[in-house]
């Protein structure tokens, strides 16, 4: 078939490959049409990269206390002798309000060094290292975005907090997607008594308003367990509450596919249940599952933050964005120390990016959109 490309207006791309290119390529093409979704994807890649490298980038340990720097404002940066420098802080006591007032000592530049030795950590969890992206000599401190009431470096805490905030919701949704897919598929495919029992169970779980149930379960968690255990338990709670909605959606999809001709044809040809489920039902429902999962992650991230904010989630000394925001609850805090609100900014970016990504993926996988 000859194509007279010169007659087509510029809006039309070369289209001789329509119908021959694979489905996933069409999806990628449609996804890339949505600039906002691509931006969301890029943002998430950046955030997760920062998360994986957080110990390397962070100059200090997240719970390192230095009362000399309580509520220290963001360090001022400058150039001197061709080097990046910061300035030491001059402290004066406001005797009326009994607060430290900080001012950068511009006479006293401190060079910022790169690839310095600092506290020991394990990169990606297994490579022991002491190397850090940047730092200042001992005796002074750099707080890129300020310090909190104990003089803990907010920048370091933000990075460290992302390790919990960005993974907990993700893992929770992953578990709920797995549970929801299995239960939903079983329910929709086999029907009958199995379906009935599962649907009653889901109905029961959904009779609880989720946030109170969430809080109730979180309150029942044992205190004084290691951070990892608490992390795991909260993940389980998120998954337990989240799977029901997904199971219902998967069930509806599977029932529709189950009734379709190609499934009947496969069954008539003697295909086993396993074959029908894995070859005909799951692949068809997959795109839907991915979309619903992606769009559920921001909610789960928000749940963790809210829970920690209320003091029922992750507990100090561990740090997540929700834990950090406990210090930003009052008007005084955010008017005097606005940098304490930065976790919210990062949280909004992360949540927004997941929404944008999920939205773009949905439009991309749905050929009728």
């Amino acid at each position: 078939m000859a194509v007279d490309a010169t007659k087509l207006p510029n809006t039309a791309p070369a289209v001789e490959d329509v119908g021959t290119i694979p489905q996933w390529k069409l999806m990628v093409r449609r996804f890339r049409k949505s600039k906002l979704s691509v931006a969301g994807l890029i943002m998430l890649i950046v955030l997760y990269t920062l998360m994986f490298l957080s110990d390397f980038i962070a100059p200090y340990q997240h719970n390192r206390i230095d009362s000399n720097y309580a509520w220290a404002p963001p360090s001022q940066l400058g150039f001197a002798n061709g080097k990046v420098v910061t300035y030491a802080l001059k402290q004066t006591l406001d005797e009326v309000r009994f607060e430290w007032i900080y001012a950068p000592d511009l006479e006293n530049p401190i060079p910022v060094e790169f690839f310095v030795q600092g506290y020991e950590y394990r990169l990606l969890g297994f490579i022991p290292s002491k190397l850090h992206l940047f730092g200042v000599p001992d005796g002074s401190q750099i707080n890129l975005i300020g310090a909190d009431k104990d003089g803990k470096d907010v920048f370091s805490r933000l990075l460290k907090g992302s390790q919990i905030s960005l993974t907990l919701g993700f893992v929770g949704v992953l578990i709920s997607v797995i549970i929801g897919s299995i239960v939903g598929t079983a329910s929709g495919y086999f029907g009958g008594a199995i379906d009935n029992i599962i649907q009653r169970l889901i109905e029961l779980l959904r009779s609880f308003p989720d946030i109170p149930l969430f809080l109730g379960l979180a309150a029942a968690l044992p205190m004084g367990v290691p951070v990892e255990v608490r992390f795991f338990l909260i993940t389980i709670i998120i998954a337990m509450i989240g799977w029901t909605g997904l199971a219902r959606e998967v069930r509806a999809k599977v029932m529709a596919f189950r009734a379709s001709d190609y499934t009947s044809a496969a069954i008539a040809a003697g295909a086993s249940h396993w074959h029908v489920i894995t070859r005909h039902l799951i692949p068809n429902a997959m795109s839907h599952i991915i979309v619903v999962g992606t769009l559920a992650i921001p909610g789960a991230i928000g749940s963790e933050t809210a829970l920690s904010f209320l003091g029922l989630g992750i507990l100090p000394p561990a740090v997540s964005w929700g834990v950090m925001l406990r210090d930003a609850q009052t008007i005084e805090a955010i008017t005097n120390y606005p940098w304490m609100l930065l976790p919210v900014g990062v949280l909004i970016i992360a949540v927004l990016s997941f929404y944008l990504l999920g939205d773009g993926v949905r439009d991309a996988v749905d050929p009728y959109a």
Partner: protein, 348 residues
């Protein structure tokens, strides 16, 4: 063949001033993400007053878009690029109205829709709003165009339901679409379309989704009502059998163009375009068991591309190399008296 159903004088002048609608060189394109689809590439035909014109062609040839264009109901990325659609409400109306001069949602256009020209769609299951009763939906059109009196409107709605052969019109009027069968819904649609006595009825494959028995009933009903009311019908279908049963004249469409236009007799007995001939050969016939059913080689080319020369040449069994694949054939008159025209190099 039901030749006795055909009106006695099948001959009609092409340039008659008594056409309900004349479509002239209509071009419609769709601007999609994957490219431009040229749905109509210069469609021209006329619908004579009081007669049934069949529009035939494969899926995707532009039949439905032609119908929707006359109603100005093309939605989404569709754009009318050129052409005129001249409409005469009554015989001899001068000058005729160019429908395309009106905005899609202009009061003038809305006065034509449902009142002068109405339309029936393919899917009776989804063409009625599930939230309102049948009576309510028919009254809506009557109240819009005919009367302001609510009780008068509901009386007329029941009347028109009776006319389309509904067994218990008052009860049907009070029921919701999901309570009716497909055939009943299509009757309700016809009732709605005819409720304001339109000059032209556009029927877009109205029986395709129905079973054969119901199809026959609906066709009978439409034919009966047509001769009773005298409404012109533009009957869009891909089924040559239905054409034989319903139509006075036929326009065969291929790739957004009318390739042949003739009376129903001429189409069946003196087809000129190779595409028309292939279409006729692919009709299964009773009592003829000569092995394989004829089919047209290849399939409709992908809609994003444009074909140089005659759009049918890649599939044409008698295409002339060097001519058909380079030069686009023009519309030529085969029989001026009967209005038989064809777009094919073999006939020019």
């Amino acid at each position: 063949m039901t030749t006795e159903q055909m009106a006695p004088n099948s001959s009609i002048n092409l340039t008659s001033h008594d056409d309900v609608v004349r479509v002239e060189d209509l071009k419609v394109s769709f601007y999609t993400q994957l490219g431009v689809v040229r749905a109509l590439n210069g469609v021209s035909f006329n619908i004579p007053r009081g007669r049934v014109l069949g529009i035939v062609g494969e899926s995707g040839c532009g039949k439905s878009i032609t119908g929707l264009s006359i109603m100005q109901l093309v939605v989404g990325a569709g754009r009318t690029e050129a052409g005129r659609i001249m409409f005469r409400e009554y015989a001899g109306q001068e000058p005729p109205v160019n429908i395309l001069d009106y905005g899609k949602n202009s009061p003038e256009m809305r006065k034509i829709r449902g009142n002068n020209i109405s339309m029936i769609f393919q899917e009776p299951m989804s063409s009625l709003n599930p939230c309102y009763t049948i009576g309510n939906q028919i009254e809506e059109a009557i109240l819009l165009h005919q009367t302001n009196d609510k009780s008068e409107a509901s009386k007329r709605a029941i009347e028109v339901l009776n006319k389309v052969g509904m067994p218990n019109p008052a009860r049907i009027a009070a029921s919701y679409p999901h309570e009716l069968s497909g055939g009943m819904r299509q009757r309700a649609m016809i009732a709605m379309a005819l409720s304001c006595n339109p000059t032209l009825l556009i029927a877009d494959e109205p029986t395709t989704a129905l079973d054969v028995t119901t199809e026959a009933q609906i066709l009978d009903l439409m034919r009966g009502l047509q001769s009773e009311i005298g409404t012109s019908i533009m009957f869009i279908t891909h089924n040559m059998g239905v054409v034989a049963q319903m139509c006075d004249e036929v326009a065969v469409m291929y790739m957004g163009r009318v390739v042949e236009r003739a009376t129903v007799d001429d189409i069946f007995y003196e087809p000129r375009h190779p595409y028309t001939i292939s279409l006729l050969q692919s009709i299964p016939r009773l009592g003829r068991r000569s092995g394989k059913l004829a089919s047209i080689e290849g399939s409709v080319p992908d809609p994003y591309s444009t074909t140089p020369g005659c759009s049918f040449h890649p599939r044409c069994p008698v295409a002339i190399k060097g001519l058909c694949d380079t030069i686009e054939p023009q519309e030529t008159i085969v029989d001026a008296a009967k209005g038989h025209t064809v777009r094919c190099h073999l006939n020019s």
